[in-house]
C-alpha cells in the first residue's frame, strides 16, 4: 500500500515536471506553429536564473517569478528579432531555433563557464503524508507547477487574449482582416512560452545540475509530451504529461528505466499512427 502511494506520488511529481517543461513548447508549437528547438535552452536559462538568485543570497522562491520575467523579455526579443521574420515558413523555424539553441548554450558557457553548478534545495528533507515520507520540495513543485499550468490554460481559454490567440490559430489571415493584431499576440504567446520554460527551469534547478548543456536533456521529454498529448490543444500538454508520467513510472516499477524510455517512445509512435488531424482552432 505504502509502496503504491509512493509510486503514485512519484508519478504525480514526474507529471508536474513534464507538464511545466512541455507547457511552453505546447504554446509555441500549438499556437504559433513554431517548432522551437531552443526550448530546452530556455529551461536551462531559467535554471541559471535560480543559480544567480542563489549566488547573490536571495530566497530561491524569488527565482520562480524572476525567471518568468527574464525569459518573457528574452522570448519577446527573440520573437521580434528572429521568429517574426520566419514564422510563416515553419520549416525554417526548425533551423533557426536550432541555431539559436547552439548560441544560447555557448553564451551560457561564456558567462557561467561549462562547470556544473547547483542550487541547494530550499526545503531539504521529507514530509510525512498519506502514510509515507516524500520529499517536501516535490510537494511544493507539484503545487506550483500545477498552478502555473492551470493558470496558463485558463488564460488561453477564458481570457480575451485566449480568444484572440484562438482566432489566429483558426485562421490567421481572417483574424488579421478582422483587425486583430496578430504580431502582438504572437509576441505575447512566444514570450509566455519562454516564461513558462523559465519557471520550469527555476523549479527543477534544485533537483539536478545547472550547466550549459542541461537543456539538451529537457527537449526530448518536452517533445514527447507534446506529441503524445496532441499539438494544437493546450490541454494536450496535460494529457500528454499524465500519459507519459504514468507509462514511465509504471514501466520503471515493472521492468526498469531503460524499458520505461522505450515504452514512452513506442507510445509516441503509436499515438502518431492513430492520431486524426484535430480540427483547427480547437485550442483547449
Amino acid at each position: 500500500m505504502d509502496a503504491l502511494t509512493l509510486q503514485l506520488l512519484n508519478g504525480v511529481s514526474l507529471f508536474a515536471i513534464l507538464a511545466i517543461v512541455a507547457l511552453g513548447l505546447g504554446i509555441v508549437f500549438g499556437l504559433m506553429g513554431v517548432i522551437n528547438l531552443a526550448h530546452g535552452e530556455f529551461v536551462m536559462l531559467g535554471a541559471y536564473v535560480a543559480y544567480v538568485v542563489h549566488t547573490i543570497g536571495l530566497n530561491h522562491w524569488l527565482s520562480v517569478p524572476l525567471a518568468a520575467v527574464v525569459l518573457f523579455v528574452l522570448g519577446a526579443v527573440i520573437e521580434v528579432g528572429l521568429i517574426r521574420r520566419i514564422h510563416r515558413l515553419p520549416e525554417l523555424t526548425i533551423l533557426a531555433t536550432f541555431g539559436l539553441s547552439v548560441c544560447l548554450r555557448q553564451i551560457a558557457e561564456l558567462v557561467f563557464s561549462k562547470d556544473f553548478q547547483s542550487v541547494p534545495n530550499p526545503v531539504p528533507g521529507a514530509t510525512r503524508a498519506f502514510g509515507v515520507l516524500f520529499p517536501t520540495y516535490r510537494y511544493l513543485l507539484i503545487a506550483i507547477a500545477s498552478a502555473v499550468v492551470a493558470g496558463t490554460l485558463l488564460a488561453f481559454t477564458r481570457s480575451r487574449f485566449g480568444l484572440v490567440v484562438r482566432a489566429i490559430v483558426a485562421d490567421r489571415d481572417l483574424a488579421e482582416s478582422a483587425g486583430i493584431r496578430t504580431g502582438l499576440a504572437n509576441l505575447c504567446a512566444f514570450g509566455a512560452g519562454a516564461a513558462t520554460a523559465g519557471i520550469a527551469g527555476a523549479l527543477v534547478a534544485p533537483l539536478g545540475a545547472v550547466e550549459p548543456q542541461a537543456g539538451l536533456a529537457y527537449l526530448p521529454g518536452a517533445f514527447l509530451v507534446v506529441i503524445v498529448g496532441g499539438y494544437n490543444r493546450l490541454w494536450g500538454v496535460v494529457a500528454g504529461a499524465v500519459t507519459v508520467a504514468a507509462v514511465q513510472t509504471g514501466v520503471i516499477h515493472l521492468y526498469d528505466a531503460v524499458w520505461a524510455q522505450i515504452a514512452s517512445l513506442a507510445l509516441a509512435v503509436l499515438v502518431l499512427q492513430f492520431r486524426r488531424p484535430s480540427p483547427a482552432g480547437a485550442v483547449a
Binding site: 514526474l14 561549462k114 545540475a209
Partner: protein, 468 residues
C-alpha cells in the same frame, strides 16, 4: 491560406517536428550500442544531441585550441623556475644521460585529441593546461632524441563524427608523430581507423571499459578491473556492508563495470540486491530512489556520469537514501561533479580512480604546486584524465628516446614493458598494451576536499591483447 491547406501544411509540419523529436529521443535513449559485452560505446558522457560542430572555447580555457609553441623552442636552461625533471625515467635505455642538452631541430609533433566542448567539455581545460606542461617538461629534459616537442590540440566536441575530423586534422594537417587521446570510446572507435591507416601511434589515455586492441594503440587509462578488483573487498571490509545496489547509465562502460563488480562482490562473500540502468540525461530519479530504498542494500555503486550523477545524488538525500544512509563507492565522480553536489551530499563518499591531485608523493606535490602556480589557484582541477595524458606523453617520450626514432613500429616495440615513475606513481606498460598503475581510494571530507584513504600500487589490468 484556407483552413484545409493550413491544416495540411500543419500536419506536414507536425510530421517534421515528430521526426526531429524522435531522432533526438532515439539518440538520447540509445546513446550508443549498449551491447553489454562489446566495447563499442563511450566511456564518457555521450551527448543527447549532437549540436557540437562549433569549435568553441569557453572563457575558462586558458589556452586556445592549438598551443602555439614557439617555432624556436624554448631552451631548457634559462627557464627561471625550477623546471624539475618531469619523471625519473627507468626506461630500458636512456640515450640522454644526466645532462640534458637543449633540444634543437625539427620538433616532434604530439597531437592531443580531447573533449573541450559538448557534454564532456568540462574535462577539457585541465588537459589544455597539461599540454603546456608536457612541452615544457619534455623539452627541459632534453626533448625526444634531441628534438624539441610541440603539442597540437584538437577538440572532438564529445561527438564521434567531429572526433574523426579532428583526428584527420591532426594526422593530415598537423602531421603529428603520435596522438594522445582523452575522449569517449565512441570517438576512439571513429578515429582509430585513421591512425591505423596512417600508421600513427595512438595512446588512448582515458578511463574506459577495456577491450581495445590495435597494433598502433596503447590504452593507459584505468579499466574497470583495476578500479574494482582490489577496492570492492576493501569497501566491504571498511563498511561491513554485504549487499550492493548497482546503478548506472545505460551504456557499455557501466555495464562492463557492473559485470566485473558482480564477480568481485560475490568472490568477497557479498551479494548484489539490485542492478538498474537509466538512460543518459535522466533527470528524475524518484522511482529509482524508491526501488533502491526497497532493496535493503548496504552499499551503492553508482556509475553515473555528469548531470545524471548530480541529479541522482541531490534527489537521493531527500528520499532518505543519501550517503549517510547507504555508503557509496563511485568510479567516476570527479571534482566538477562532486563540487556541484556540495559537501552536504558528498561527505563520506569513496571514489576509486587512478589519480587524484591529493596523491601524496614528492613528485606529485611538486607537480601539483607547479600546476596551480602556473595556471592560478582557481585553475580547473588537475585530475585523472589530465594526469593520464601527461603520463602518456612521458611514456611516449621515453619510448621514442629508447628507440632512437619516432618510427611508429619502433616506438611501439619500445613501449612494451616500459616502466616509469610519474606524479601518478609507478606505472608500466603491460603485455596487453594497457597500463599497470596505482589505484587510489579517496574519501570526501566534510569540507568537500578529497582525502586519499587507501592506495593499491601497481594494479594489473585484466586485459588481453595480441595485435598480430
Amino acid at each position: 491560406m484556407g483552413t484545409v491547406s493550413d491544416s495540411r501544411s500543419r500536419s506536414r509540419l507536425w510530421l517534421a517536428a515528430s521526426l526531429v523529436a524522435l531522432l533526438a529521443l532515439v539518440a538520447a535513449a540509445c546513446g550508443d550500442g549498449d551491447d553489454s559485452g562489446t566495447p563499442e560505446a563511450p566511456s564518457a558522457p555521450e551527448a543527447t544531441d549532437t549540436d557540437a560542430a562549433e569549435p568553441d572555447d569557453s572563457g575558462e580555457a586558458p589556452e586556445p585550441e592549438t598551443t602555439e609553441a614557439p617555432d624556436e623552442p624554448e631552451p631548457a636552461e634559462p627557464e627561471t623556475t625550477e623546471a624539475p625533471e618531469p619523471a625519473t625515467t627507468e626506461a630500458p635505455a636512456e640515450p640522454e644521460a644526466q645532462e640534458p642538452a637543449a633540444p634543437s631541430g625539427e620538433p616532434v609533433r604530439i597531437g592531443i585529441l580531447f573533449s573541450n566542448s559538448g557534454p564532456a567539455g568540462v574535462f577539457g581545460p585541465p588537459t589544455a593546461n597539461i599540454a603546456e606542461l608536457i612541452e615544457e617538461d619534455i623539452n627541459a629534459a632534453g626533448g625526444i632524441n634531441g628534438r624539441p616537442v610541440e603539442t597540437f590540440l584538437a577538440d572532438d566536441a564529445t561527438d564521434p563524427a567531429v572526433g574523426r575530423q579532428a583526428m584527420e586534422q591532426l594526422i593530415d594537417s598537423d602531421n603529428v608523430d603520435v596522438v594522445l587521446g582523452t575522449h569517449s570510446s565512441a570517438t576512439r572507435q571513429a578515429a582509430k581507423p585513421l591512425a591505423e591507416d596512417a600508421d600513427v601511434l595512438y595512446i588512448y589515455a582515458a578511463l574506459y571499459e577495456g577491450g581495445e586492441c590495435s597494433s598502433v594503440m596503447f590504452n593507459t587509462g584505468e579499466v574497470p578491473s583495476q578500479q574494482l578488483a582490489p577496492v570492492i573487498p576493501w569497501m566491504m571490509e571498511q563498511t561491513g556492508g554485504q549487499s550492493w545496489f548497482l546503478l548506472g547509465n545505460d551504456y557499455v562502460w557501466p555495464r562492463r563495470s557492473f559485470e566485473l563488480a558482480r564477480q568481485y562482490i560475490e568472490a568477497a562473500g557479498g551479494e548484489v540486491v539490485g542492478e538498474e540502468y537509466v538512460p543518459l540525461g535522466t533527470q528524475d530519479f524518484s522511482s529509482v530512489a524508491q526501488i533502491i530504498a526497497g532493496s535493503g542494500a548496504d552499499l551503492i555503486f553508482p556509475a553515473l556520469v555528469g548531470g545524471d550523477a548530480i541529479a541522482f545524488e541531490t534527489q537521493a538525500v531527500d528520499f532518505g537514501i543519501g550517503q549517510d544512509a547507504i555508503p557509496r563507492l563511485a568510479n567516476i565522480y570527479e571534482e566538477n561533479v562532486l563540487g556541484a553536489m556540495g559537501p552536504a551530499v558528498t561527505a563520506g563518499m569513496r571514489v576509486t580512480l587512478g589519480y587524484f591531485k591529493e596523491v601524496d608523493s614528492g613528485l606529485n606535490n611538486e607537480f601539483v604546486d607547479r600546476y596551480y602556480e602556473r595556471f592560478g589557484a582557481d585553475a580547473p582541477p588537475h585530475m585523472t584524465f589530465s594526469s593520464h595524458i601527461y603520463d602518456a606523453a612521458l611514456l611516449y617520450a621515453a619510448a621514442a628516446n629508447a628507440a632512437g626514432t619516432t618510427d611508429t613500429a619502433a616506438v611501439a616495440a619500445a613501449m612494451e614493458g616500459l616502466s616509469l615513475t610519474t606524479p601518478t606513481g609507478d606505472i608500466a606498460i603491460t603485455d596487453s598494451r594497457h597500463l599497470a598503475q596505482p589505484i587510489y581510494v579517496a574519501e570526501i571530507q566534510d569540507d568537500g576536499s578529497q582525502l586519499i584513504v587507501q592506495s593499491f600500487p601497481s594494479v594489473e589490468p585484466d586485459e588481453t591483447c595480441d595485435p598480430a
